[in-house]
Symmetry: C2
Amino acid sequence: MSPNPVIPDSAVSRLATYLRVLRDPRVEGRQHVSSAYIGDRAGVSPDQVRKDLSHFGEVGRPGVGYDLEHLIGHLARIMRLDRVQTAVLVGAGNLGSALVQYTGFGQRGFRIAAVFDIDPQRVGTNLGEVVVEHVDRLAQRVEELGATIGIIAVPRWACQTVADAMASSGLRAILNFAPAKIEAPEGVNVRSVDLARELECLAYYLPG
Amino acid sequence: MSPNPVIPDSAVSRLATYLRVLRDPRVEGRQHVSSAYIGDRAGVSPDQVRKDLSHFGEVGRPGVGYDLEHLIGHLARIMRLDRVQTAVLVGAGNLGSALVQYTGFGQRGFRIAAVFDIDPQRVGTNLGEVVVEHVDRLAQRVEELGATIGIIAVPRWACQTVADAMASSGLRAILNFAPAKIEAPEGVNVRSVDLARELECLAYYLPG
DNA sequence: GTTTGTGAATGAGTTCACAGCA
DNA sequence: TGCTGTGAACTCATTCACAAAC
């Protein structure tokens, strides 16, 4: 699925965290960082940090640590974050609107270049810097924009339909915010975030 | 931390998913459901479903399956979802506003009963059905409302301060949307959702 | 003395396989 | 025959421990 070495998904997630830590302004000025430093900021053991980083060949110097700039570049390349990734979003409701305007994506190198909805009331309205388009135009716009990632922010009952449309539009990655399982063809990577489930998991540990 | 048996966090997350599947309107009318049915809808193997459910004693009947209503009640009690859980949210920015108005929480038994911010421009404004209050009032309002869960939707630099305030206000669970590690005292459960990281993980698997 | 890279040991979680009940 | 409950086998990930490099 990827020219990168096969590493556990949990490790991929941690690598993204390391990169976030290294790009934090507070680290600026440092020449080197140690696995202990990264681990502390990321909430991970130093051993784990070294193991994760060693999946991609030697990058650190014993007794010194990792060269900051070099490591950032290395990680960014591995994670495909050395370029701006273009995403499109379907579902201009409450959550969709917030996601489009969420500055965190832009800061981390993602651009939501188009937003789609099926509701004529919403089509044509402004959302941040984009105009909501009819979902019929998805495939055409994906191609025009060279988008690679689709974000689903529609109700549960519509999410599979949207996912199918995304897959046949050529998108290779889908981030789904609807609380339902999504089937996608081989080669299309789906990741789901169920916001309510996060609260539910917390509830389990509550006393009483 | 909980009177419930100690089960892996991954299992807790799946239990929440099973409950979502069982409460789906499409299941209504059924008397029994099998582990195979649940597993199919949840994207999990039947073995895994049975293992997860068996952590809490026998609930299914061989040859028949699980009694639908009974299982829903059982899971809801285990997950503390047999009552409305009251949450408060700090950070009335883009993301915070969307979360307050997100209907998915209410549908799943959570009520965001108060919203706080530190910006005088935002304090006093309406957000859905609540009025934004100054974060100084957090502790008092948590007590008045009997809230148990805190949701953090502030910028990274402010999240630890907010978490500290939440912990000392008596909240026992925190859902953090700021992209940073949070330290909390023993007994306070923190869960972090980094929306940009989800996209980053997807980027790793992109071709090219 | 400090810190990396990595094989070995440990541990956690998932899948298997089957006995037992309907 | 269909389906659950569960110990055993297995897989996968993390932690340990130490040699080598600075």
